[in-house]
């Protein structure tokens, strides 16, 4: 059974709103900048993909992630015709780092912050009257995990409509620890390039409204979710396992009833780290086999940074826009692909106009080996 995406919302370093974000990505616009909210002298790494909304450079305020989440959910709900009243609609939020940035500011600097707002239920209740809110803190696949759970609620008949969202902002602890473990500080995210140096974090939020498909009731849908897989490597706490990723990709295609040759576009997780990109490329190569040169492939973290728990859903929205428009944003900074990805048909340097794209795959993997893969389809026949 499929579900319709009837609304979408996005906020990222490259823009506000789905249209603006997608246009920016297709134009090759990057949200890369020098660190805005942290003391740059404390890190070897100096860059990130931040949303520039702090009151003054070098200062930081709590609650920014919550604000973006509310804006993304508001955009999606409005487009789906739900308005501002979500009192009867479950809202599932996937996030890697919740409002931990606000907790850092509260504890270290004494910035006022209600610890009851570490999760997003209170804010969603205040703005939308939403009560059935669930904050999942599932690292970098959290929003696709939330999508999978929402799809299950529709499939089992428990719900007709579910809002799914993802959000994250940089925390100083995560940014600093990534800085510590990178051998050489990255100055940008270069997914699948041989000279990639690691990941840079990005700010952002994404949201979709998912609705059970009723025969004949397909109106103004942005696309269709065919299936979402979720699993766990159960192998290593930070390093990805190609076998676990391959299982997730295979399961998603199997649940969706598609074969690798049916996939026209892959939005790769592509974080630009040594380990992720090698593991993901190996897994994709294994599952796709001889079909690996078939689909177009791209990775948007080169322009948005790693938006962590929100990244999977942001990629999904971009995939739906690409299926609808035939335009696929490029993977910037990809000069020479790593060996495992040599056969991939990457979109490079500039957006590609491609006529008939029908089915897309979206990857999202996170710390702890949590993998989720979605298969989506263009709306209409």
């Amino acid at each position: 059974m499929s579900q319709l995406v009837t609304g979408a919302g996005a906020v990222a370093s490259v823009g506000e709103g789905v249209d603006e974000v997608f246009r920016a990505l297709c134009a090759g616009t990057s949200g890369l900048g020098e660190l805005r909210g942290f003391d740059r002298e404390r890190y070897r790494t100096r860059h990130a993909y931040e949303i520039d909304d702090r009151p003054a450079p070098g200062t930081d305020v709590p609650g920014r992630a919550t604000d973006w989440l509310l804006r993304a959910v508001g955009e999606a709900a409005a487009q789906a015709g739900l308005g501002e009243d979500l009192s009867e609609v479950p809202v599932l939020i996937g996030t890697g780092l919740r409002e931990l940035r606000s907790a850092e500011l509260a504890w270290r600097d004494g910035t006022p912050f209600d610890i009851g707002r570490l999760h997003f239920g209170t804010a969603l209740r205040t703005r939308f009257g939403a009560v059935r809110t669930h904050t999942f803190s599932g690292a970098c696949s959290a929003s696709l995990y939330a999508l999978a759970l929402a799809a299950d609620l529709l499939t089992t008949g428990a719900e007709d409509t579910v809002v799914v969202a993802g959000v994250d902002t940089l925390t100083e602890s995560m940014y600093g620890l990534l800085d510590r473990v990178n051998s050489e500080p990255p100055d940008r995210v270069r997914p699948f390039d041989r000279d990639r140096r690691g990941v840079l974090m990005g700010d952002g939020a994404a949201a979709v409204v998912l609705r059970r498909e009723e025969p004949g009731a397909e109106t103004r849908a942005l696309g269709r979710v065919r299936a979402v897989s979720m699993n766990c490597d159960a192998n290593h706490v930070t390093a990805p396992d190609p076998q676990g990723i391959a299982r997730a990709v295979h399961e998603a295609q199997w649940r969706a009833g598609v074969k690798p040759g049916d996939i026209d576009l892959v939005l790769l997780h592509g974080t630009g780290t040594q380990l992720n990109d090698a593991a993901e490329a190996a897994a994709i190569a294994e599952v796709f086999g001889r079909e690996v040169s078939g689909p177009l492939m791209t990775a948007i973290k080169c322009m948005t940074g790693h938006t962590s728990g929100g990244s999977g859903l942001l990629s999904l929205i971009v995939a739906l826009e690409s299926l609808a428009s035939g335009r696929v944003p490029p993977t910037l900074g990809l000069a020479e692909p790593l060996p495992e990805a040599e056969a991939f048909r990457f979109v490079r340097e500039e957006a590609r106009e491609s006529g008939d794209l029908r089915v897309a795959q979206i990857d999202a993997f996170g710390f702890g080996g949590v993998n989720a893969v979605a298969i989506v389809e263009r709306a209409g026949r």
Binding site: L100, H134, N231
Partner: protein
């Protein structure tokens, strides 16, 4: 978001809290708060050893202890091993914690401000991600099903039980380990504005399993999951679970419910459960439990069901439980508190109890278990963003054999 009766059952319970090693002991401790010195902190090394845990945070180690205990009690892990006896991809993990890695985040941010990121220990990296607890449980036991981490405020533990049941109902996995864990330290105490001594340092875990899968492997169920609701207030939540004012056999109240919101005088008409129903506040026994509370409550409720199951006749607590009792209830009676009549309800009672309630089997009466045999569990109060509630029921009598069930809607991934 409700599940039919008997569809999903509890087949294992694990605890890692000071002074209560079993559901029965946790219930006893809840009903009869111990005075005197606090018990020693839970010793994780005694259960899981020290080797390989040096860089795990306290919440993760507590979670590993409770999960191991639950998997063993569900007979999914032999007493002398750590490997599960069923395929790893048939088991999911759902962990709940609001405060678990706050210390890593805040102390790391402070260390950067004092010196620089270069001086950090790279071993802290996994702990900066809030899902580290669920990840380590999966890694330790090879659990390759969906791996969820709930950080959902006061209701988080009960929400986690719900999502574990949802994974089973949707056919994603046959069973899932649910862990609720919180710990206390200077960071948590400061951010909550409470003394560390008021806060839980412990974990509880459940194994929830599809009834058919439990039966297929001959596992004994200790409770069945009833409906779950998440509503705007306590009264609405309880009414949705127990229509027409039906009285449950026991009520596990939200954290510090008897104290009322923000120190207000309790308002009698706002109490959504009949005064005669015994009520227990697990957080009174183990400390303010935040995201662990719902799982702890379920563990204590399993203890209550076990005791009720040992009772006689139709009532869950003959002569002790249902009738009005002077001094019981939420009022501030000295010596009574939220656990009325300490000592009166706890302890085995003779006879056998759960006879014919399930004889009709699924598909007959929609709600075959009388409310008085069910445990009502609630998390969050009217000051929270929502209240979550769950009914736990005695397990169906499996004789005569359970009729065949329809295939699950979704395909199960079991390779």
């Amino acid at each position: 978001m409700t599940h039919g009766p008997g569809e999903v059952v509890v087949t294992g319970v694990g605890l890692a809290v000071p002074g209560a090693g079993t559901p029965e002991a946790l219930l006893r401790r809840t009903a009869c708060p111990v005075t005197g010195p606090d018990p020693e902190p839970f010793d994780t090394a005694a259960r899981i050893g020290r080797r390989g845990h040096r860089y795990k945070d306290r919440a993760t180690r507590l979670a590993l202890c409770a999960a191991l205990d639950a998997l063993r009690s569900a007979d999914l892990i032999p007493a002398d091993g750590e490997e599960v006896t069923v395929p790893g991809d048939t088991i999911g993990v759902v962990a709940s914690s609001n405060l678990g890695n706050l210390d890593t985040a805040c102390l790391t941010a402070a260390a950067i401000a004092e010196r620089s990121a270069v001086d950090l220990s790279p071993m802290s990296l996994p702990n900066a991600s809030s899902n580290v607890i669920a990840s380590w449980v999966a890694i330790r036991h090879g659990l390759r099903g969906p791996n969820l981490m709930l950080c959902n405020g006061a209701t988080s533990g009960l929400d986690a039980v719900h999502w574990a049941a949802a994974l089973v109902t949707a056919g994603r996995v046959r069973r899932a380990v649910v862990i609720g864990v919180e710990t206390r330290n200077a960071v948590v105490a400061d951010l909550l504005g409470r003394s560390a001594g008021e806060l839980l340092d412990g974990a509880a875990a459940l194994v929830v399993e599809g009834a058919r899968w439990a039966e297929a492997r001959g596992a004994r169920a200790v409770a069945a999951l009833g409906p779950y609701e998440r509503r705007a207030g306590l009264t609405g939540c309880v009414e949705a679970l127990l229509p027409d004012g039906a009285a449950p056999g026991v009520w596990f109240t939200p954290e510090r419910y008897a104290e009322g919101p923000a120190g207000a005088v309790p308002v009698p008409q706002a109490v959504p459960v009949p005064q005669a129903v015994p009520r227990y506040d697990v957080s009174g026994a183990v400390g303010r439990a935040s995201g662990a509370l719902g799982v702890l409550q379920c563990a204590a409720a399993v203890g209550w069901l076990a005791r009720a199951g040992a009772g006689t006749g139709a009532g869950p607590e003959p002569g002790a439980g249902v009738g009005p009792e002077p001094g019981a209830g939420v009022g501030p009676e000295p010596g009574a508190g939220v656990g009325p009549e300490p000592g009166a309800r706890v302890g085995p009672e003779p006879g056998a109890g759960l006879g014919t309630a399930f004889a009709a089997g699924p598909g007959a009466a929609p709600d075959p278990v009388p409310a008085s045999r069910q445990a009502l569990i609630t998390c969050g109060d009217d000051s929270a963003d929502a209240v979550a509630g769950l009914l736990l029921r005695p397990t169906p009598d499996r004789c005569p054999p359970h009729p065949a069930r329809a295939a699950l809607i979704s395909m199960e991934c079991s390779r």
